[in-house]
């Protein structure tokens, strides 16, 4: 369905997307996981033809996508991260406008609008101005506006940002339902649980580079059987070095101000390591252990947690 080869984009000498390759098969939910500023939205903007890549190629159904080939955009549905709606218009008027941009009209458009309003639970408020909606309702409307023309590939750019857990749950359900109908989805997020819950395959992206790609299991296997210890306090690398020589599988992953990330093989006993830490008199304020997961894989790959 979508093939991205050697895609590169920089803004004023900052490399936003750095020679990335990936492909998405028909019907797949592909997750793009990375912190803010990792290059997810820039990649989406190039896929939907808004940005010209500096290098590389994007193919959709075997056809190369360029900003000038607007016709190919009929196959794409884009749900932007921000609420992109006209607040002075009502939901129906908004959907009618966005539908017409994709050459929908007449009864086909009307029928599709009613169908999606029902699906999103907004049918009763369809004639109310969008500015009177709650943020969750706006999010739902924002999403269905990208589905009007039944796109073959739906690009969802962090669709759950800034909404309450229930609204988030509704959106994830909707995404599953859309995928079940055969739509291919590229889903960008910085929430690990969403990626774990939704995606068939994932790519972990940071500083414009894809660091790992595969199924959840494949990515976890990159970390191996390693768990992560996160320590907060007045501790330096030098304080830990005696412990790394004592425990062969204990490694320092990164240090940032008052935070230290260590990884250790589950072959070691976590209790022994912690006991040794306290015994050596380290000034530990807080200590967390993360079992092998996408989170620990991310930390292993990027040297920081996703919330950074």
């Amino acid at each position: 369905m979508l093939k991205v080869s050697n895609l590169t984009k920089s803004f004023d000498r900052v490399l936003a997307v750095d020679h990335i390759f990936f492909h998405i098969s028909i019907g797949e939910i592909f997750g793009f996981l990375g912190p803010n500023g990792a290059g997810k939205t820039t990649t989406i903007n190039m896929i939907c033809g808004l940005l010209n890549p500096d290098a590389g190629e994007i193919e959709l159904d075997g056809q190369v996508l360029t900003p000038d080939r607007t016709g190919l955009r009929h196959k794409l549905g884009v749900v932007p991260q921000e609420i992109a709606l006209y607040e002075e218009l009502n939901a129906y008027e908004n959907l009618r406008f966005w539908g017409r941009l994709y050459d929908l009209s007449g009864n086909a458009l009307k029928g599709r609008i009613h169908e999606l309003l029902q699906l999103s639970g907004l049918a009763e408020r369809a004639r109310d101005r969008v500015k009177t909606y709650s943020s969750g309702m706006k999010r739902r409307l924002n999403m269905i506006a990208g589905l009007l023309h039944r796109p073959a590939l739906l690009l969802l750019d962090e669709p759950t940002v800034g909404i309450d857990p229930q609204g988030r749950h509704n959106i994830l359900d909707s995404v599953r339902e859309i995928a079940a109908q055969g739509t291919t989805i590229l889903y960008t997020t910085h929430y690990l649980d969403e990626a774990e819950a939704l995606c068939d395959r994932l790519a972990i992206i940071d500083h414009g580079r894809i660091l790992a790609m595969g199924t959840e299991g494949e990515i976890k296997s990159i970390v191996g059987e390693n768990a992560i210890i996160r320590i907060t306090g007045d501790i330096s690398k030098e304080d830990i070095e005696p412990l790394t020589s004592r425990f062969a599988h204990l490694k320092i992953e990164s240090q940032k101000e008052r935070e230290l990330l260590l990884s250790f093989s589950t072959a070691e006993r976590a209790g022994d390591i912690i006991e040794a830490m306290y015994a050596s008199g380290l000034d530990i304020e807080n200590l967390q252990i993360k079992e092998p997961s996408l989170d620990s894989a991310f930390i292993k790959l990027t040297g920081r947690e996703l919330r950074d």
Binding site: F11, C48, G49, L50, L51, N52, P67, T70, G71, R73, H74, L76, V78, P80, E82, I83, A84, L85, Y86, E87, E88, L89, E93, F97, W98, R100, L101, Y102, D103, R129, A145
Partner: protein
């Protein structure tokens, strides 16, 4: 493109307050001007000037001079207060008078003796217009008095000598003076009573007076309406930034719509909205305030409105494609419009500008619009006479949007 345009018009209809407010400004302005000019029944209204006079001479001639300020139109214009000696300056200091005229003691004697004399005029420094009129008027009166005395020098000298030497004039002296006056009248009578050049004074009829006022109204409205059009377009063009900030532009541009169509739809939207507001102002001027326009000038006038609107849309769009943010636009564009309006004769007539700025006026796009409208409405010029105006405005209508389109597309695709 039409879908986008329809959407913008629907948004305008759904939330008309902003647009109505923008249109209200020129409508209110033109209505006020209409009230001032179009229905005036009094012709020119004379200014009212407070004048204080100190008469230290208290003679027949000083009385005549004072009376001159009470005659006919001068009486309407001047509000004369005669005060005692040395009290006049207090009026000036308290801003109660525009000027103080002091007639010195011996004024009459000096005048009759044909020796130099002077009138003292103290002007109020805090006022500008009134004291200048008083100065001019006193100057005219002093000159008139001088002429009268010079023409009647001989009889006046005889009367003066007789009065100084004898308390009562003899019959012979009286007869001699009468002969002298008679001869003087014979010599000067043809000049005084039967002037070779007759001034045929006619009063302007109310109808003509109204037409003159309406011409002034029309001339001013050409400037105000064109300037307001720029401000209206500026208010509407903020939508470029609004759509960007609300990510609706993003959503449009990731759809099959091309950036060209998007930008073009904005031009057309601005053009229609601008033309509607322009027509609203002029409809008011023609149908309510009855500005006269010959039937033959209706088509050139309408064509000029269309060309002015399209060139204004081009200019505003170009400026918007050069500014980087809404706040930058808010700071720069109104100032730029005011400069264009000042140089273009929209606020004050170009002839009133200093020569250097007058030469610069051709660089203001507003100039070509205002001057074109004035020539159509007031000078009844046809389109062929306005070829240069039309060509320049059409050039602006084509060049500015094209350049703006390229800049906007570049910005969008960055």
């Amino acid at each position: 493109m039409w879908i986008l345009l329809k959407k913008d018009l629907l948004r305008l209809i759904k939330q008309p307050a902003g647009f109505l407010f923008l249109i209200a400004v020129p409508i209110v302005l033109s209505s006020l001007m209409g009230l001032i000019f179009a229905n005036s029944e009094h012709g020119v209204i004379l200014p009212h000037i407070a004048l204080v006079i100190e008469d230290h001479d208290d003679s027949l001639l000083s009385g005549l001079l004072k009376n001159a300020f009470h005659q006919e139109e001068l009486g309407e214009m001047f509000d004369v207060t005669e005060v005692d000696k040395d009290q006049g300056r207090a009026y000036i200091e308290q801003d109660k008078a525009a000027a103080l005229l002091i007639i010195p003691a011996g004024f009459s004697d000096s005048l009759l003796a044909l020796t130099p004399t002077e009138l003292i005029l103290v002007k109020n420094p805090s006022l500008d217009f009134g004291p200048k009129i008083v100065e001019e008027m006193v100057h005219i009166l002093a000159e008139a008095a001088d002429r009268i005395v010079r023409i009647g020098e001989e009889p006046i000298t005889t009367i003066r000598n007789e009065l100084e030497n004898n308390e009562r004039m003899t019959d012979a002296t009286m007869a001699a003076i009468a002969v002298m006056i008679n001869q003087l009248m014979t010599k000067t009578g043809s000049l005084i009573f039967d002037p070779p050049i007759t001034l045929n004074k006619q009063s302007v009829s109310e109808n003509e007076s109204n037409n003159s006022n309406k011409s002034l109204f029309a001339s001013t409205l050409c400037g105000i309406a064109t300037m307001c059009l720029f401000f209206i377009l500026n208010g509407l063009a903020v939508d470029y930034f609004r759509e960007r900030e609300h990510y609706t532009m993003y959503r449009i541009l990731v759809s099959p719509t091309s950036s060209f169509d998007y930008i073009l739809s904005k031009y057309v939207y601005l053009f229609f909205a601008g033309l509607i507001s322009f027509l609203a102002v002029w409809s008011l001027a023609f149908f309510v305030w009855r500005i006269p326009i010959p039937l033959s000038q209706v088509l050139p006038f309408c064509l000029m409105l269309v060309i002015i609107t399209s060139s204004s849309v081009g200019i505003i769009s170009l400026i918007y494609s050069l500014v980087r943010s809404r706040s930058q636009a808010a700071a720069i564009i109104p100032a730029l419009i005011i400069v264009f309006a000042l140089l273009g004769g929209a606020m004050i007539p170009i002839q009133a500008l200093p020569p250097f700025f007058e030469r610069l006026s051709i660089f203001s796009p507003i100039y070509w619009g205002v001057d074109g409208l004035q020539k159509i409405l007031l000078d009844q010029q046809g389109l062929t006479m306005l070829a240069s105006h039309i060509m320049i405005l059409i050039l602006l209508s084509i060049a500015c949007p094209t350049l703006s389109l390229l800049l906007q597309r570049r910005r969008i695709l960055r």
